[in-house]
Structure formats: structure tokens, C-alpha cells
Amino acid sequence: MEEKAAVLTGKHFWSGDIAVAEGGIAAGCRFFAGYPITPATEVAERMSERLPALENGVFIQMEDEIASMNALLGASWGGMKAMTSTSGPGFSLMMENLGLGIMLETPCVIANVQRGGPSTGLPTLVGQQDMMQARWGSHGDYEIIALCPNSPQECFDLTIQAFNFSEMYRVPVLLMTDEVVGHMYEKVIVPLEEDIELVTRPRPKPGANGYLPYAIDEESYIPPMGLAGEGFRLHVTGLTHDERGYPAVNAETQGIMVPRLVEKIKRNAPKIYMYEEDRMDDAEVVVLSFGCASRIAKWATFQLRERGRKVGFFRLITAWPFPEPRVRQIAEQVKGIVVVETNLGQMVREVERVVAGRCQVKLAPNAGGRVHETEEVTSLVEEILR
């Protein structure tokens, strides 16, 4: 292995997948449990190379994705920053226990390098078809955080951000990348270790008497997390539980606990929203995209500007929570929004919901296995401008 340092400060030529692994390590992740699946395998392979060389680093290839997800939760309650990577089919297998992570308020990061589905679909080819699964795939009501990088550099940066959000809000965070971004090689700049800002989960005060693992702190809504082995005698359950963590299977407790899980993300959403904008000031039409599709979408807006069309570019970096306020503003300002995504219409539903008829919404669909042609985007913009 090239290096035994955790943060490989300097310039690198990395794939998105490698950058995800390196971002995780730079964020302090020392526990990786996963199961091989194309096109996410390189994340696991990089971790298997790197973690054993780092102090307390643990890499384990589990028997399946279900086990991987649960191993993350266990490791996180043991105090480690933990992550896994997968793709569509494995992501589906993780869903039940993603819900457990949400219910137990367990920080961890899951990178989904999306491929085309349904089912085994396109193992080696791109898709962005798990966006709604990311939002709604597990059972029950919840809010989740999902980030979408569109370059290896962002794979690095956003994996760190994913860990920070996950620690801050005590929620599993999803990194929704895709095959194109995962396999693309580009320059990645890794900053100095001291320039990387890291967040760690809120912790109870040492020796805190009468510590309530799920106490409602009216201000932040995020209870401090006691860990296994610290003498708290925690009880942690996937059942609806009260402030002590004890099961309380009734409508009243459900009515307090589930809204809190949802609220802790909703209230902080303005701090979680991230997006990229370009030439929005005078835009009459906006092209909205994310991940691999956004690279073509952006190129299309350049071409349209050259033709003198007033087009802006908007890229979701945070897919969930969906940056509702900003999209609503945009809808008030433009004639139409063209959504470019590598699926037959997932995030476009959210855009339509938020736009609520304020402007036209058009989708540039793509069933997966390829990236969009520029014309697929430009023609829709022209249609709106016509």
C-alpha cells in the first residue's frame, strides 16, 4: 500500500469509488463492513487495503448486505464511525435495518453507487433509479439525508460531509452516487488533515446521572448518545420507545417519538441543503439535475447560452431533504424547469410537488445504461421557450 497515513494530503488521480473510501477514512471511519457488488466494489476493495494499516481499522466482508448494515449499527454503538457501500440490489437488502438505524438514531454512512434496475438490471451500467428508494425504501415514517456527488472530488468531500451530518443528527446518511461518477477518474485534492472539519456525535456528560438515552431536548431534538461499555446500562430497541429507551408500544409514545425523528431533520433542513447554481439571475428556464446526469445537463446549458437562450443550471447536492424553499423560489421566477435524471421520473415528482403549477416541469427521461445526449436536454428547453 502506498501510504499508512489516514489523510493522504495532496493531489491524486482517483475514481469516484476510491474517493468515497478515502473520504470515509479522512472523516474518521475505521469500520467498514460490506458485500461486493458492481459498481460499488472498488470502495470495499480500497477499504480492505487501507483500513488494516490504520490504528484500530477494521474491514470485514460480511455474508450479505443485511449483515453489513447491522454490523455498522453495532460498530457505531461501540463508538466507531462506520460505513458500507453497495448498489441497487444490496441497497434493497439494507432497507429493513436502515430503518433500525433510523429508529436507534445511529450514525453511519451508506454509499449507494447506483446502477440500472429493476432487479439485477445493468450491473456494469449506470442508473439513478434508487432515489425514491433512498427516501421511502424502509418501512414507517422517517426523514433521511441523501447527498449526490457528481465528481470524484465531491465523492471525497461529500463522504466527509455525510459523516458529519450523520454524527450531528444521529441518522444514517446516504451517499447516492452512480456508476459513471463511481468509475470516472479525475483529479482529487485532499486537504491537510487539520483543514478537514470533523463533527462527532453529541455525547452525554461523563458520569451523567439519570441519563435518558432518548430524552427530548426541546432545542435540538437530538439526544446525546451514550455508548456500549460506558456503564449507562443502555436499552436500545427498534420498538417504539420512551425517553429511557424502554419499549412503549402505544399511540401516545409513537406520537411523540416518530415526529421527533422526523422533526430533527426537518428543523435542520436549511443547514443540510446544498446545491450548485449557475447563471440563475436572468434565467427563463432552469435545468435541474444531480449526479452523473448533471454533467450533461450543465454542458447543455452552456450550449444553450451560446445560442443566446436564457437558461440557468441548478444541481441538487442534497437530494433529501429536498431543498423545497429554493426550488419554489425558482419556480416563481422561471417559465419552466427541465429535470434531467437517469431514470423514468423520480426526483421530477418532488419537483412537481414543490412547483405546484407555478411553472412548467418537463422530464428528460433515461432508462439507464447510458448518459443523456445533450439534445435530449436542449430540445426540452427550446420547447418551453418556444
Binding site: F31, P52, I60, A71, G74, G78, A228, R233, T237, G238
Partner: protein
């Protein structure tokens, strides 16, 4: 004159979440006895209580985590073992014990069971085998003996049952024992040995479910079940594990079947780390 006073506490209370009582288990259920033995076993190890974590899946036995006053995690159906694996790898000095039912561990969680045994992961699995799915109302389990009736085998089970000690030993477990809840002393001792054992240890606890299993099969009450254990148990520490399968109303071979020393997953990980 001796005044008889009603006791308000019990010596085992400090390791139980008595504030959660009454518990959900039926009268004559064997899980309580297994828990009682477990508490004695934990004490007998002499290890600081802070060092223990109990992880459960889902089911009647899965509720154990909720009643034990240690760090305890009640996870999802069948998935206690991988959760425990993550916790153990993050906190190698802790004693991580999975306490779960037979259906939970061997059916939905069967894959985790065999692979965690294979890796000789240093955790303990205590499996309460009542031959049936208790919590969901008495359905067929992989351990249900042939011909036994359950709510999903109304004409009698025609599947071949799984013999847990045989499976885990074949997969690489390094400590394996089986006792019934009638063998209180031996069961406690086995749990203690399993906890102290370095490597994957497995204790099968044969326990009555009189509400569902016994009633469906007209086997009587909990007391009848215990006397059945008394009459049909055969202790044989040297038993060939291929021959310890359990059939309907046949003999129950019990014993401390297996103790072997073998590097654990963690040992090999650290050895590998030195090489890196």
C-alpha cells in the same frame, strides 16, 4: 416468633430491569429460567458488569435484551448476530452475547449464524429452542420435530428439522453445548464457560413453550414438559454431534460437546495487521 416478611427485592434484581416488570412471558415458559441462569453465569465470570452487552433479535426470547440491566440491544428479526459482530469488533474487550430464539437464529438469521461460527468470531450465542415460533403464535420453525403440529403445519410437520449443535460445530464454532432449563446448574456453568471461551461459543437451551408448542401437540403443562426432560435427557459430553438431532418425543442428548482452541477472527485480524 418469626415474622415472615414479604421481600420487595430479589438478589438478581440488580441485573434485571425490574422497572419493566411484569414481563411478557407466559407462565411456565422456559425463557425466564434461561435468563436466571444467565444472570448467575454473568456473576460467576467475575467480570465487571459494564463489560457485557446483550444483543437480541425478535421473538419471545428476543425480549431478553429488554429485561436485562446491562447494555442491551433489541434489533431486528434474525439480525442480532451481525449487530453483535459490529459491536464486538468496535469493543473487543466487551463480552458480547446474543440471546435469541431458535427461529430467529436458525431460520431468518441462519446465514449469519453459520458464517459467524465459520469466522470463529469471539461472541457468545445463547439460543432458546422451544421448537416453535412463540411470539407470532406458534408457527413452524426449522427446529420443529417431524410430525409435530404447529399453526402452519396443521397436519404435522413433514420437514426435516435442523440440529443446531451439529450445524454450528460443522461451521467452525469452538464451544458448543446443549442443556434443558431443568439442568439449572449445568446450564449456568455452560453459559459461564461459553462467555469466558475465546471464540464463537454456542449454547442451546431446550425450553418449554406450553402455551403453544405443548398445547398444539397435547403434551400437557409446563410441569409435564419438565418431567419429560427429566425422563428423556441423556448427558453425553462425547456425543457425536451428527447424532444429537431431536425428534418428536424422543431422547434429548445434552452435554458440553465441544471446546476447542483456535485463533479468532480478531486474532487473525491483528496478526494480519502486523504484517501490513
Amino acid at each position: 416468633m418469626t415474622v415472615i416478611q414479604e421481600a420487595t427485592t430479589h438478589p438478581k434484581d440488580t441485573l434485571l430491569r425490574v422497572d419493566r416488570f411484569p414481563h411478557i412471558w407466559c407462565p411456565t415458559c422456559g425463557i425466564g429460567t434461561a435468563v436466571s441462569c444467565f444472570i448467575d453465569a454473568i456473576r460467576a465470570t467475575g467480570i465487571d458488569e459494564k463489560q457485557f452487552a446483550v444483543v437480541s433479535g425478535i421473538g419471545c426470547t428476543g425480549r431478553v435484551a429488554g429485561y436485562i440491566r446491562l447494555d442491551s440491544f433489541h434489533t431486528t428479526h434474525g439480525r442480532a448476530i451481525p449487530f453483535a459482530v459490529g459491536l464486538h469488533l468496535a469493543k473487543p474487550d466487551m463480552k458480547v452475547i446474543v440471546f435469541s430464539g431458535d427461529g430467529d437464529i436458525s431460520c431468518i438469521g441462519g446465514n449469519h449464524l453459520i458464517h459467524t461460527a465459520r469466522r470463529n468470531m469471539d461472541i457468545t450465542v445463547i439460543c432458546v429452542n422451544n421448537f416453535i415460533y412463540g411470539m407470532t403464535g406458534g408457527q413452524l420453525a426449522p427446529t420443529t420435530p417431524q410430525t409435530a403440529r404447529t399453526t402452519t403445519s396443521p397436519y404435522g410437520n413433514f420437514e426435516y428439522p435442523m440440529s443446531l449443535p451439529h450445524v454450528v460445530s460443522a461451521c467452525g464454532a469452538t464451544y458448543v453445548s446443549r442443556w434443558t432449563v431443568l439442568h439449572i446448574k449445568r446450564l449456568t456453568r455452560a453459559m459461564k464457560d461459553a462467555i469466558l471461551h475465546r471464540g464463537f461459543s454456542f449454547v442451546e437451551v431446550i425450553a418449554p413453550c406450553s402455551t403453544l408448542c405443548a398445547r398444539k401437540n397435547r403434551l400437557g403443562t409446563g410441569t409435564n414438559m419438565l418431567s419429560y426432560y427429566h425422563d428423556h435427557c441423556e448427558i453425553n459430553h462425547e456425543a457425536n454431534l451428527a447424532d444429537v438431532g431431536l425428534d418428536y418425543q424422543g431422547k434429548i442428548v445434552c452435554g458440553n460437546f465441544l471446546t476447542i482452541e483456535k485463533p479468532t477472527f480478531r486474532d487473525l485480524l491483528e496478526e494480519n495487521r502486523e504484517e501490513v
